[in-house]
């Protein structure tokens, strides 16, 4: 099949398909970030805009896509899929859509790789931009926030559509014929949005009102259904961020086309010579090395507020002890895929930015220290002491530590409730638990002083905390007054009619 394709064409075609796959992932994930995308047109070619389209590259997304591809290309029987799912603040999740980049055996030997295939891939990307705004998940993603977030997961291999529920619809974005096969891009999306999560049936009885399945599962347990992904959320990386490995492998694309007829081989060569590339090797080992992904590290999605483009941050979920929520597992039968649920809170930007790790692995580890909902962290590397989070006592402590996990084996004394809750239980008490004896503590309002006035603010507050109801507001009196009002109405009306000239003069004065 490839024997009619020149080595240079084959190399170019592989490159086009690879970068098309990466750009496809970028377009899909960026369309699910939750806000409008805007990129500028440029009359001069910049050299880095593949397919002549301004599509920004989110480094984390590129990193995940390259990891999923693991040096392979989408090919016959090897599809690249981007799964978009929704996850609520309570931990329920639902797959919304799956975008598939596939290739079949139907070849077009006569098609020009360097021109026609490239331009058609560009048109296909434009179609993807249009279709990603049309599927139902787009509206959901625009409204993500407190109640739910949108996650993405990239995997390579066999397409999995079972999570989309019954009656899912398929839309074909487009096809591009190439000399080695036909590239097809399609989307299967859920139509039944009634919330049915498998997890609801697997959940055990909640302990202290907190859902058990928020806790850490041992890596590679394979027991829980793998439904997590990355949040569709982004921060503009700082210069110290450790994604140098990914950026080094980026290529410059300087497209230059020839207006000569395609039959002239000489002109074709001159056109091909005008492509300039940073030295790039398709060797899988090199790719893996370029990613610099330490096996024990968990590439986390580090999130700051976007510097430009204003990506909406998903607000941090209300803190409760079960927010440490991690899974790292390899999905069965899908080599190269990972389910990662990263951190989505980013309230401690300063602490993170001050770290300037030289080693990308350390950078990744540094990123994992912020714990919030959906964070994925290696339990062997992070201790609760190194974390700065509310209810740190309930953060999982290590692998197989369920017996020590306070959320699974609750401690004898209940957690300290919020100060507000405490004040409701006992007047003037602070910080006492509901099961402890009441301790009377002098209520000391802020800014109060004892020696200034005979009656200080606290005394005043206590004395007038429960004032009697106003007389006019009581039903008995109000009904009486209403009856009196009704009786006196005719007299009042007579008076007003008598003085009508005065009223008119008053109104005229106001105008």
């Amino acid at each position: 099949m490839d024997r009619d394709l020149s080595p240079q064409d084959k190399k170019d075609l592989d490159k086009f398909i690879k970068f098309f796959a990466l750009k496809t992932v970028q377009v899909i994930v960026q369309a699910r970030l939750g806000e409008k995308i805007c990129t500028r047109s440029s009359s001069s070619p910049t050299g880095s805009d593949w397919f002549n389209l301004a599509i920004k590259d989110i480094p984390e997304v590129t990193h995940e896509a390259k990891k999923a591809l693991a040096g392979q290309l989408p090919g016959i029987g090897r599809s690249m899929c981007v799964e978009i799912s929704l996850k609520t603040s309570e931990g329920d999740s639902m797959e919304l859509e799956t975008w598939c980049l596939e290739m079949n055996e139907k070849c077009d030997k006569d098609i020009k790789v360097s021109y026609t295939v490239y331009n058609r891939l560009s048109v296909l990307l434009k179609s993807l931009l249009a279709i990603t705004r049309v599927t139902p998940a787009y509206k959901l993603s625009r409204k993500q926030g407190h109640d739910y977030v949108i996650l993405y997961r990239i995997y390579f291999g066999e397409v999995q559509l079972s999570g989309l529920g019954e009656g899912f619809q398929t839309v074909r974005v487009g096809v591009v014929s190439t000399p080695v096969g036909t590239v097809t891009l399609s989307c299967a999306y859920r139509t039944n949005l009634a919330f049915m999560s498998n997890r609801q049936f697997e959940r055990s009885a909640p302990i202290m009102g907190i859902i058990v399945d928020h806790f850490v599962d041992p890596p590679c347990s394979g027991q829980r259904p793998a439904t997590m992904g990355h949040p569709c959320n982004y921060r503009a990386p700082d210069e110290e961020d450790g994604f140098a490995g990914v950026q080094d492998s980026q290529e410059v694309c300087t497209t230059s086309f020839s207006t000569s007829p395609p039959s002239q081989v000489g002109c074709t060569r001159s056109f091909l010579a005008s492509f300039t590339f940073i030295c790039f090797c398709l060797c899988p080992a090199a790719l893996a090395g370029a990613d610099l992904c330490h096996p024990a590290a968990n590439p986390n999605q580090v999130l700051h507020a976007g510097k430009e483009g204003g990506v909406l941050l998903v607000p941090a979920y209300p803190p409760h002890g079960a927010d440490a929520h991690l899974t790292v597992e390899h999905a069965p039968n899908t080599p190269g895929s990972r389910y990662i649920s990263p951190d989505i809170t980013s309230t401690r930007d300063d602490g993170r930015r001050s770290a300037s790790p030289t080693d990308p692995v350390e950078a990744l580890n540094a990123f994992t220290r912020k714990v919030g909902a959906f964070v994925n962290r290696p339990v062997t590397q992070i201790t609760a002491a190194s974390l700065d989070l509310p209810f740190a006592a309930f953060a999982p402590r290590g692998l197989g530590s369920e017996e020590n996990d306070p959320m699974v084996q609750p401690p004898d004394s209940p957690p300290c409730p919020s100060p507000l809750q405490a004040s409701l239980h006992s007047q003037g008490s602070e910080g006492s638990g509901p099961q402890d004896d009441f301790v009377m503590i002098d209520f000391r309002p802020a800014f109060s002083k004892d020696d200034l006035l005979p009656m200080d603010l606290g005394t005043f507050y206590r004395e007038f905390q429960n004032p009697p109801q106003l007389a006019s507001l009581s039903l008995h009196i109000s009904s009486q007054s209403m009856a009196d009002d009704l009786d006196s109405l005719p007299e009042k009306l007579a008076v007003y009619e008598k003085n009508i000239d005065e009223f008119d003069a008053f109104v005229d004065m106001l105008q």
Partner: protein, 218 residues
């Protein structure tokens, strides 16, 4: 060469006409625009970059991606605005059709003027309805959004058949194929025309051909 013709039909409320037309016309033009060509020596050329921009409709529950070019947007908005005004003036239950035609010029010998040969025509038929209350308007808002989504899928399906496209021109012939008047992007040569019919289905005015963009004064 036969001209490819596609017809799309939408039913909208009067205040939704503008955004519905913008959504479809911009979606088509997104696929039919390239970056600016820069010709070099040795018969090669490079292509600029096309940016995209998401637009949220106010009267329709819909967002569409368009080419990030204010010049192009101004031209399309002007044409759609004229169409909308013509529709409003024709009566409340008017129907109309706006057409986006892509053509290429063929040089003719003097004294004959250049010939415009269309190679793709998109016709969007619009039925304008009146709604009685806010609840109906809200339902219409969502329904029209879904319908526009279906139309976008139709457009994408047609375009990805990869049927006839004009051959890439040499530098001397680029103005016969592309509209090179814009600074940042380069759509294929196109013209937008519209036609209004009243509720009886008759043409109340002659077809008004408005040449919105032409690089050569004829």
């Amino acid at each position: 060469m036969n001209c490819r013709s596609e017809v799309l039909e939408v039913t909208v409320e009067s205040r939704q006409v503008e955004e519905a037309m913008l959504a479809l016309l911009h979606t088509i033009l997104l696929h039919r625009s390239t970056g600016k060509f820069h010709y070099k020596k040795e018969g090669t050329y490079s292509i600029g970059t096309v940016g995209t921009l998401d637009f949220d409709c106010d009267y329709i529950d819909f967002t569409f991606a368009r080419v990030s070019s204010e010049e192009l947007d101004r031209v399309i908005r002007k044409a759609v605005s004229e169409f909308k005004d013509a529709l409003s003036n024709s009566g409340s239950d008017g129907m109309g059709q706006i057409s986006l035609e892509f053509y290429q010029k063929k040089k003719s010998r003097w004294p004959f003027s250049d010939e415009c040969i269309p190679w793709e025509v998109w016709s969007i038929k619009v039925n304008v309805v009146n709604l009685a209350n806010e609840q109906e308007r809200q339902i219409c808002r969502e329904k029209v959004g879904e319908k526009l989504g279906e139309k976008v899928i139709n457009v994408v399906e047609v375009i990805n058949r990869h049927e006839y496209l004009p051959k890439m021109p040499t530098q001397s012939e680029v103005d016969n194929v592309f509209d090179t008047s814009l600074k940042d992007v380069q759509p294929y040569l196109y013209k937008i025309t519209y036609q209004i019919t009243d509720s009886l289905g008759t043409s109340v005015s002659t077809t008004m051909r408005r040449l919105i963009k032409d690089t050569l004064a004829l």
